[in-house]
């Protein structure tokens, strides 16, 4: 490529005129051309460039298919076929076109070298569009750039003029089009509609978004819409002198890094920064600017779900997404944008798209009790507020006074963190105390069901399975449903009010200290619900290393599946301050996550973080409907788990404990019991109970599960865990609730079923007559549950999200080792005290 720069043709004067370039689809069979530009976007652009369709490459048309679609091409020695619509997005230069461009010292022969040089020159022609609010200084910037040499062009179908001019810098020609000033890209006014159509239809290579530095919040609203459109943008921070005069501090470089758009300060009236701006445009055009990346503005969980659903149907028609971002269209449809409907109406699956978007709008409006357009506008302003809070110190006149006033307390430097900690403490305290009443009712119901079955059914394995396996196992877990619902009530409250975003904001500084961004905190808090969606939520973190790190520490966030185990053990062994103990376990989990993050950041993941905007959406009063919906959804999910995986696991655990039936007992218990029954002494009843218990104990120990338990017990003995505890941990690998159901099956089998599991855990004795559980062992056990092996679903999620088994396996081993090590320290040191 380089050698063509040095040949004689490089000295040719080439005049580039602004005209509609030839597209690849216009070439005929056998024609040759050189690629000058690849338009289009997203997956199409990625695929096409990977196939070798890059600037300066020679391409030959082999043949058009009988119906003129697709077209077969030869590029870099191999043959590919493209749809006509795809080929129309690739600009080429042909011999004829090159002749018309090369007008000086031309020797009459257009060789391949000439063509290639011309193609390279032509690819240095950048189509730039100027977009900005009215009175943002856009036109003065344009005039300065064009030195008032602009010509006015009328565009068909609209009455609005848009001016085009040329600027030359560093061998590049910038064809700058000044578009009408708009506050937004909604299709309300002709100007807005025009600007939007221009950007989507003409596909400028780079957009200069002129932002009035003295009114950032309002001006950046338009920028958020450009972000949604997924187009190349450079922000001209115009009237920068006014911002400086006010004494405001604005870290525009950080903001640029956060939003993935370079920001160049300019003073268009004085010509300040214009050259830098154009140089930046060239860098962005050539994909040389390191901070350019496409980000997604987070519209909140519900809106994001709706966007995803609409995107799914839009994606069915790849030809739409080759041109326009499916996310942009989805957002516009949610905003009830008539123009978006009009644009999509020509596609065959429009009716489905429309149906789904209408359904999603209805759902969102009923959930949030706001007009869908307002919801999206609020989220955009939330994004801007978050971005400016981190980068701008000045008098930002927001339209959200109430939100600001609340934020003064909630995100206050000194109060923010204590308020957050108090809220978490209150949440766990309530989970425990409010939950205990309905928990007792369900427990009574479960006991009653067991008794009734015991009375109705004749003795046999099915009766044992129902009472010991299913009621003991599933019943042991189901009683914690109220606790789960209460926890989810609070999580939903945090999300719906907008407090969750503030929590991330408050935690930002701490997260920075551990090498992560505050944004990583959202997936971590989500981990309190379930680690699987939390791991999926890390997709918003673009830095891959930070993402993997967040994924790896996520299992330390106690998911709701672990809550039943905590509540059971805490009820049994820490009854005095259960809420505080529960809170401290969650806090220990967070502390371990932080320590592990610091360790990993210093050893495995050493990359620098990419800044992000922390959205601060306005506060909202949560609707009862939305909160109950979240709780209902979680309740249904929990019950489904009971009826599925927990039930199945309980049956398997029971079967492993029930079989084999033929056991060689160490002593003949039946004979001893028979003799005792005949003797009729005063303590006969107690002795018979003891012998029966011993027999059951030995039978269980020699069952399949007992054998497994005894196999793993030596590894767990240094932690103070017996074989039943070890087996329960092992079964918890499938799902953490199964720890409780396994305990329910193992500790309750064959004995007095009316006694609660809590009582049985408190009184369980080993062969030596010592208590199996002491508060020390129970605490070590809680720690083990907190840290060890994330469940199978989490492991699968880690594998899927990181794309490698190695991270999934790493998560399995390092968490289990850490759990063992900490429980060992707790038990061994605790035993010495």
């Amino acid at each position: 490529m380089r050698k063509y720069n040095t040949i004689t043709f490089a000295s040719l004067q080439i005049y580039l005129f602004y005209f509609k370039s030839m597209r690849l689809s216009q070439l005929k069979d056998g024609d040759e051309g050189f690629i000058t530009k690849v338009r289009g976007r997203g997956a199409f652009r990625k695929r096409i460039t990977e196939m070798g369709f890059v600037k300066g490459k020679k391409i030959t048309v082999i043949r058009n298919a009988p119906l003129k679609d697709p077209i077969e091409y030869n590029i870099m020695g191999y043959e590919v076929s493209l749809r006509r619509s795809e080929a129309s997005l690739i600009e080429v230069i042909t011999q004829e076109e090159a002749k018309s461009l090369v007008i000086n010292k031309f020797n009459g022969v257009i060789t391949e070298s000439t063509l290639k040089t011309t193609a390279r020159q032509k690819s240095k022609e950048i189509h730039v569009a100027l977009v900005g609010n009215p009175n943002s200084g856009k036109t003065s910037l344009f005039n300065l750039a064009s030195r008032s040499k602009e010509h006015v062009g009328n565009y068909s179908g609209v009455t609005i003029d848009s001016k085009t001019a040329q600027a030359k810098i560093n061998n590049y020609t910038l064809n700058i089009t000044d578009l009408p000033g708009t506050y937004s890209l909604s299709a309300y006014s002709p100007e807005e509609l025009y600007v939007r159509k221009y950007i989507l239809g003409e596909m400028p290579d780079v957009i200069i978004n002129v932002v009035d530095a003295s009114n950032l919040e309002r001006n950046l609203y338009l920028s958020t819409q450009l972000i949604d459109m997924d187009v190349k943008v450079v922000i001209a921070l115009n009237m920068y002198d006014e911002l400086r005069k006010k004494g405001d501090e604005f870290d525009f470089e950080s903001l640029g890094k956060m939003i993935g758009i370079p920001i160049i300060p300019t003073i268009s009236t004085k010509g300040f920064g214009i050259k830098d701006l154009f140089k930046k445009v060239i860098d962005v055009y050539e994909d040389k600017d390191p901070i350019v990346r496409h980000i997604h503005i987070n519209y909140g969980k519900d809106v994001e779900q709706s966007i995803r659903k609409i995107q799914n149907v839009i994606w069915e028609n790849k030809r739409i997404t080759d041109l326009v971002s499916s996310r942009f269209y989805s957002i516009k449809l949610l905003e009830k944008d008539a123009s978006a409907h009009f644009s999509l109406s020509k596609w065959e699956n429009y009716e489905t798209i429309k149906d789904i978007s209408d359904k999603e709008i209805k759902k969102l409006e009923s959930l949030i009790q706001e007009d869908s357009e307002t919801i999206i506008t609020d989220a955009k302003y939330g994004f801007i507020a978050g971005a400016l809070k981190e980068t701008y110190k000045g008098n930002v006149h927001t339209r959200r006074r109430k939100t600001e006033q609340i934020d003064k307390i909630i995100t206050n430097k000194f109060l923010g963190f204590p308020v957050f900690i108090f809220f978490l403490w209150f949440m766990f305290q309530s989970t425990f105390f409010l939950g205990q009443y309905p928990q007792q009712w369900i427990e009574a119901l479960v006991g009653l069901t067991g008794d009734s079955i015991g009375k109705i059914m004749t003795d046999g394995p099915l009766k044992d399975l129902l009472i010991d396996g299913i009621i003991g196992g599933v019943g042991g877990v189901i009683i914690f449903l109220p606790n789960i619902l209460i926890l989810f009530f609070f999580i939903s409250l945090m999300e719906d009010t907008g407090y969750m975003a503030r929590a991330a904001f408050i935690m930002d500084k701490i997260m920075h200290k551990i090498g992560l961004h505050g944004r990583s905190f959202i997936p971590l808090v989500m981990g309190f619900g379930c680690n699987v969606p939390a791991i999926m939520a890390t997709r918003t973190i673009e830095n891959r290393q930070n993402r993997i790190l967040t994924i790896l520490i996520n299992p330390f966030m106690s998911c709701s599946a672990r809550l039943p185990v905590y509540v059971l053990i805490i009820s049994a062994f820490f009854p005095n301050r259960p809420g505080t103990v529960l809170f401290s376990i969650y806090m220990i989990g967070i502390a371990i996550a932080a320590m592990v993050a610091i360790l990993f950041k210093k050893t495995i993941f050493r990359s620098h973080e990419i800044p992000f905007v922390m959205e601060l959406p306005p506060y909202r009063i949560p609707t009862l409907r939305n909160t109950t919906r979240h709780m209902w959804f979680k309740g249904v999910q929990y019950l489904q788990k009971m009826g599925g995986v927990i039930l199945v696991a309980s049956i398997i655990i029971w079967a492993l404990g029930y079989y084999p039936r033929e056991i060689n007992y160490s002593t003949n218990y039946d004979e001893q019991i028979e003799q005792l029954q005949k003797s009729k002494s005063s303590d006969t009843k107690q002795k018979i109970e003891y012998l029966t218990s011993q027999k059951n104990s030995e039978r269980q120990a020699k069952s399949y599960i007992g054998q497994i338990g005894h196999f793993v017990e030596p590894m767990m003995r240094p932690l103070g865990f017996d074989w039943k505890m070890s087996v329960s941990l092992l079964s918890g690998v499938a799902a953490k609730e199964i720890v409780v159901s396994t305990m329910g099956v193992l500790y309750q089998a064959g004995e007095n079923e009316t006694e609660s599991l809590v009582y049985k855990l408190q009184t369980e004795q080993n062969k030596e007559g010592e208590l199996v559980f002491t508060p020390l062992i129970a605490f070590g056990y809680l720690m083990f549950i907190l840290i060890y092996f994330p469940c199978v679903a989490t492991i699968a999620a880690i594998k899927k999200e990181t794309g490698h088994w190695k991270w999934a396996l790493f998560a399995v081993f390092y968490t289990t080792f850490l759990a063992w090590f900490l429980s060992f320290i707790i038990y061994q040191i605790g035993s010495l005290i």
Binding site: I295, P461, M536, I652
Partner: protein, 45 residues
């Protein structure tokens, strides 16, 4: 009779457990919209 029902339940449970765990690992991944955000992520991989 009870014995037979129990055996069927156990066999069903084992089958469900295997199916469930396999399902977790082999479930199809979510779509990627192919926007440049995903492209960047792909490149970072």
């Amino acid at each position: 009779m009870q014995e037979i029902i129990v055996y069927i339940l156990i066999a069903g449970s084992v089958f469900y457990a295997v199916y469930h765990i396999a399902g977790i690992f082999f479930k199809k991944q979510n779509h990627c919209g192919g926007c440049s955000s995903c492209v960047v992520k792909e490149k970072l991989k």
